[in-house]
């Protein structure tokens, strides 16, 4: 029988405090670790958020009894029937989606040069300053910026004055759908610049050099190398611009006369206390965003957020 040689002078290590022993005990139990990690976020999400959403969606199938002005808890499709049969809701939904799409495109177009410059041309010091400049407008409050645009767009306001100055009077869009597109483009621009910047920054320098070595000129490099690589980032940014425009009701109210999906929902909920109808109409943007998110995920947007 052999005895394992042991240094006789080493005392056994002192027992660890309870907490550390607990964590040590967890080390092997992967499933328990996972459960503990996920417990808090999952319960928060499922109960607080998804649960509320589910209740809202159920509400869409109830209806408001006009006589008592209270919600009747029995299932019916009448809200959806109204939505489908009345053409005005289609018009409003179409208008909202169209402007959201236009805003996304315009934001991408304006954001790209800025992000490209920041990511590939600017010196590191300048880059930080530019980065700050992009984020700063977001701190001046969404509402204030929309009101600033109200001032700019008002008749005889700065925009009118500017167009008069350059000899193109009457070109100002005033308060209209065009103005909405303009203001939304402005508001969400930083949200598009940042993901594109992050995406461009990730492209290694060597790719550009390799492309040039292989004979690609600027446009080709851009089209065949940069664009595919930055597509996830574009998709990520578009999630913000699209969804923020889709659900907004404050800007349409302030800079135009048209109704957006958000306005109808807000008015139904607040004005008529008709939460079932508001919930029913809310299904529309939820479905649209659901599809959009699935498409974006396909394009890899979730990795580029």
């Amino acid at each position: 029988m052999t005895t394992t040689a042991r240094s006789p002078a080493t005392p056994p290590p002192p027992p660890l405090p309870a907490g550390r022993r607990l964590l040590g005990g967890l080390y092997q139990r992967k499933k328990l670790q996972l459960a503990l990690l996920l417990a808090a976020p999952t319960s928060w999400f499922v109960f607080l958020y998804l649960g509320s959403l589910a209740v809202l969606l159920v509400t869409a199938f109830w209806y408001l009894d006009p006589k008592t002005s209270s919600i009747v808890h029995s299932l019916t499709l009448q809200n959806f029937v109204t939505l489908v049969s009345e053409p005005v809701y289609r018009t409003i939904a179409l208008r909202t989606v169209t402007i959201a799409a236009l805003v996304t495109i315009t934001d991408a177009v304006i954001a790209f040069p800025i992000a490209y410059y920041m990511a590939r041309v600017a010196a590191p010091r300048t880059r930080s300053i530019l980065f700050m400049l992009v984020l700063l407008p977001l701190w001046s409050s969404y509402v204030v910026r929309v009101y600033a645009w109200r001032v700019i767009l008002s008749p005889n306001g700065p925009l009118d004055w500017f167009f008069g100055l350059i000899g193109l009077p009457g070109l100002s869009p005033g308060f209209s759908d065009t103005s909405m597109w303009l203001v939304f483009t402005y508001l969400w621009l930083p949200y598009m610049i940042l993901p594109i910047y992050a995406g461009l920054e990730r492209i290694p320098r060597s790719y550009f050099e390799a492309s040039a070595d292989l004979g690609g000129r600027n446009m080709t490099t851009f089209r065949r190398i940069v664009l595919p690589l930055v597509l996830p980032a574009l998709a990520a940014g578009s999630i913000f611009t699209f969804s923020l425009t889709l659900g907004d009701y404050i800007t349409p109210k302030l800079v135009s006369n048209s109704q957006f999906i958000g306005n109808v929902i807000y008015d139904s909920q607040g004005v008529a206390n008709n939460v079932p109808f508001a919930a029913a109409f809310a299904v529309v943007p939820i479905l649209i965003m659901g599809v959009y998110l699935l498409l974006a995920r396909r394009l890899g947007a979730f990795d580029a957020l």
Binding site: S69, V88, D267, Q269, V271, N273
Partner: protein, 415 residues
């Protein structure tokens, strides 16, 4: 490392403090609430004693813009600070744009978030019917006895013999126009509704952004299409309703703006984005005070209007403060400030003494005559806001169009 840990603690502390501190925004908590005294404002008409108990230190009310002036707009019109000083109830007023918003806000949190509201006739019955507001005993306010006779038992807030609030004031939605641009001076609503006349102001007309505005169009048709047989602009049979909606849809392309935010109307008239349309006297006063050339007129067809009542939530967190506010708002001095600053007829004609002398920059000579403060017959010509219900209330039975349809159609009209 240590710094990081400390920093990490701060947010946690913030949450703990917030959770423990409950919901109210920072307000002076030093107000005494005598533990022993029973609040005599328990919402039950029969049990109310004739005096109001001690204040709770805070008051959350929903108001029409301009109903709780604190001197920040015009220094002479301040009835909030004196109230706060006298009663210790810090006033937190939230302005709502439409009656519907007010109803929704009043119902928030089961009625416990806001203590009271200045409700117009198209909200009052809904609130009363749903049990959102409490019956009170008006005799606890000595000034109530002086309220105009036609308001003391008005059906829009007195139901089943119980008073569900106290009157505040009344007025009409008149027609405002830019005197430089709209010529000749209009005397009828046809300047916004009749294509031949309104065409001159295409894109510069404004409407009130609420389904209740359909009644304004109905009022116009009452005079101009008598064969429709409209008697009550809020109780319309289907054909009457359809004709009215058609009128508003036809008007839509010429409307420059639907305002619910009164300041939007002020902006629009100032910048001349809009030159004619329905308004509240408050905007007229403000615009004239800023030097914008506008005037308002009561058109020949008449006008819709509002008779507002201060009502208390049946689950008010600060009932005594609310009752004190109600009593305060009935006093002649306050009524005078309210009437002058907003441009409405005060519920308490005793205010006329102060009004005829003038209180602030919006004073008007012979205010009470101009605003027909004591004129019961003039009062009866205004089509005050009330909630359209299916029960026409007359021989027509249950054939009238309900307000929920009004709301849906309003969305359609705006397109």
């Amino acid at each position: 490392m240590r710094r990081h840990r400390f920093l990490a603690l701060l947010p946690a502390l913030a949450i703990v403090v917030a959770a423990c501190g409950g919901g109210s925004s920072p307000a002076p908590t030093s107000q005494p609430t005598a533990a022993g005294s029973t609040p005599s404002s328990v919402p039950s008409a029969a049990a109310a004693a004739p005096t109001v108990g001690p204040g709770e230190g805070k008051l959350n009310i929903i108001i029409w813009a301009g109903y709780a002036e604190d001197g920040s707009n015009v220094p002479q019109y301040d009835w909030v600070h004196p109230f706060e000083t006298q009663t210790g109830c810090q006033v937190n007023a939230k302005a709502a744009d439409t009656s519907d918003e007010m109803v929704t806000l009043m119902r928030q949190g089961g009625g416990s978030v806001y203590d009271g509201v200045s409700a117009s006739g198209d909200a009052t019955l809904r609130l009363i019917g749903n049990g959102d507001v409490a019956a009170i005993d008006p005799t606890m306010f000595p000034d109530f006895a002086n309220v105009a006779s036609f308001l003391q038992d008005a059906p829009h807030y007195v139901v089943g013999g119980k008073h569900y609030g106290v009157p505040h004031g009344w007025g009409g939605n008149s027609l405002m126009y830019n005197t430089d641009i709209v010529k000749p001076a209009p005397t009828s609503w046809n300047v916004v509704f009749d294509p031949t006349v309104a065409a001159a102001y295409k894109g510069k007309i404004t409407d009130y952004d609420s389904p209740i505005y359909i009644a304004d169009a109905a009022l116009y048709l009452k005079a101009h299409q008598p064969d429709l047989g409209i008697t009550d602009p809020y109780e319309l049979t289907q054909p009457q309703f359809d004709a009215t909606v058609a009128l508003l849809k036809a008007q839509h392309p010429w409307v420059g703006d639907y305002w619910s935010l009164y300041s939007k109307e002020i902006d629009n008239f100032t910048s001349k984005a809009v030159v004619v349309g329905t308004t509240w006297p408050y905007q007229v006063n403000t615009l004239q005070g800023s030097g914008v050339p506008v005037k308002s007129v009561v058109p020949s067809e008449g006008m819709t209007g509002w008779a507002d009542t201060w009502m208390m939530s049946s689950r008010a967190a600060h009932p005594n403060c609310m009752l004190k506010w109600m009593g305060w708002m009935l006093t002649p001095a306050v009524q005078a400030m309210v009437a002058e600053s907003f441009g409405e007829s005060p519920a308490n004609p005793k205010a006329c003494d102060a009004l005829d002398t003038g209180v602030g920059p919006y004073k008007l000579a012979n205010f009470c005559t101009a605003y027909r403060v004591n004129d019961a017959s003039y009062y009866s010509t205004i089509a005050f806001w009330k909630t359209p219900v299916a029960d026409c209330g007359d021989g027509r039975g249950q054939t009238c169009v309900d307000y929920s349809i009004w709301t849906q159609k309003w969305t359609e009209i705006k397109g």
